[in-house]
């Protein structure tokens, strides 16, 4: 537990020092939301209908930037090898990094919601529900994303590899998060949002445990 707290402290410090990067990724996500609207045209009803999909696509695209960057500082001057030499388990390193990435994605998602509301007129009063979906969906992106980012940071063509590995894997997250968000925005008379949230919980439970178990193998030399 102390190891995890130390890893989290290190990640929080890193995130604070590179906060300009998070702001840049947010601007990328917001510009993606702006660009998606050109695919539909100025049809406000259609834009509102597709708002949830666009929000999650913008978050997914932004996540590849933030996840790829998350191991950048460790790769410089072989800092990652130094980390592995510390008397800390790879499990603590993984969960420290994954929790930090999760927090970053939640902040991005929460930041993109007002942009979506303004551009697509897609507001909702069920804000705790929307926050819950963002928290669960971001968790689904963060765990496998952190594991794959640890691999691709050391490979050639890392910018191509990370989305290539991550995108097909997180299709269930995208599907469930888009459906749940859409139901919260457009109305949910049959109370279906809960079942989509449960799918997110199941995906998160499987991948947070599986990726944690396998991370030690990925980083061992």
């Amino acid at each position: 537990m102390r190891e995890l707290a130390a890893a989290l402290h290190k990640e929080a410090l890193l995130q604070w020092r590179t906060r300009v990067q998070l702001a840049a990724i947010f601007v990328f996500g917001a510009s993606a939301l702006l660009l998606f609207s050109f695919a539909i045209g100025p049809n406000s009803a259609a834009l509102r209908l597709h708002a949830a999909g666009f929000l999650w696509l913008a978050l997914l695209l932004s996540s590849t930037l933030s996840l790829a960057e998350s191991f950048q500082s460790e790769m410089e001057q072989r800092a990652f090898e130094g980390l592995l030499l510390l008397p800390a388990s790879p499990l603590a390193l993984f969960y420290g990094k994954a929790l930090s990435n999760w927090l970053q994605l939640v902040l991005l998602g929460v930041g993109l919601v007002p942009v979506m509301v303004v551009l697509y007129d897609a507001g909702t009063l069920r804000l705790p529900g929307l926050l819950g979906v963002i928290v669960l969906g971001a968790a689904g992106l963060a765990a496998p994303g952190t594991l794959y980012a640890a691999m691709t940071a050391q490979a050639r063509a890392k910018q191509t590899l990370l989305p290539l590995l991550l995108f097909p894997l997180v299709v269930p997250v995208l599907l469930a998060a888009v459906k749940a968000t859409s139901l919260l925005i457009l109305g949910d008379p049959m109370e279906q949002a809960r079942s989509w949230a449960l799918l997110l919980v199941a995906f998160d439970a499987i991948h947070w445990s599986l990726c944690g178990l396998l991370f030690g193998r990925v980083v061992e030399d």
Partner: protein, 242 residues
């Protein structure tokens, strides 16, 4: 880890390929010329004789790759990495073939080449997941890292395989449920079984041949570097000449 020396020549693998081709030929002739057309779909149904065996064997190849990944991580041995590479490659080939056959069948039956049905969507996801693993292998130079990472990625990707299999039971799918001898008329059994074993033997043959190729390549990668060639005396830079 022991060196990945292929112990046998390609003979047994080629025997499997020949046997598989013969069975596939026999099954296809029976399916195309002897078996009667299906009541509702007519001749279009005949694609089932290759589509269903391809589906079974694609999943079998990915399951074998998953087993190889587990064995590489928890037991070690380069042979498991070579087998994983071969199984993923053959599995991706079969899965792409499966999607193409499905599209050919879907156009006259459903009216579209593709439908966002759970079975089709999860199969497409499976193809992309395992193609990503092949890409990962291509972009990692260190053999140990390549083997470990692709084993990890295979274990994660394999989560989708049971979802593909059970998708037609879990969701209201346009794709029909899995067939079994009790749901298929007995006149269709023989060509289907011959083709199933034909594709199975072809798959075993191709995986074995591809494992051998992967082993030979890995052997070259793991071999110590060749000594530097001795430079001609006149070309050796000296302090005075510098």
């Amino acid at each position: 880890m022991a060196e990945p020396l292929p112990r046998r020549g390609p003979g047994p693998a080629l025997a499997f390929v020949v046997l598989g081709t013969l069975l596939l030929l026999a099954g296809s002739i029976l399916g195309l010329a002897v078996a009667p057309p299906e009541n509702f779909m007519g001749d279009v149904q005949r694609i089932m004789y290759v589509h269903v065996p391809t589906a079974w064997n694609a999943m079998l190849a990915f399951t074998f790759a998953f087993g190889c990944a587990l064995l590489f991580l928890f037991q070690g041995g380069w042979k498991w990495d070579c087998r994983l590479e071969a199984a993923v490659e053959v599995g991706v080939f079969l899965a792409v073939l499966l999607c193409a056959q499905g599209a050919i069948w879907a156009k006259p039956t459903w009216g579209v080449w593709w439908d966002w049905d759970p079975r089709l969507t999860t199969t497409a996801v499976m193809v992309f997941l395992f193609t990503g693993i092949l890409a990962l292998r291509h972009f990692v130079d260190d053999p140990l890292k390549r083997a470990t990472w692709s084993a990890v990625a295979t274990i994660i990707a394999f989560v989708d395989v049971p979802i593909v299999y059970f998708s037609v039971r879990w969701w209201n799918s346009l794709h029909q449920l899995q067939s079994s001898p009790s749901t298929v008329s007995s006149v269709f059994h023989l060509p289907l079984r011959l083709n199933a074993f034909g594709v199975l033997f072809l798959m075993i043959g191709f995986i074995t041949l591809r494992t051998r190729t992967a082993g030979l390549r890995l052997q070259g990668e793991l071999a110590p570097p060749l000594p530097e060639p001795a430079a001609a005396p006149g070309l050796v830079p000296t302090r005075a000449g510098a």
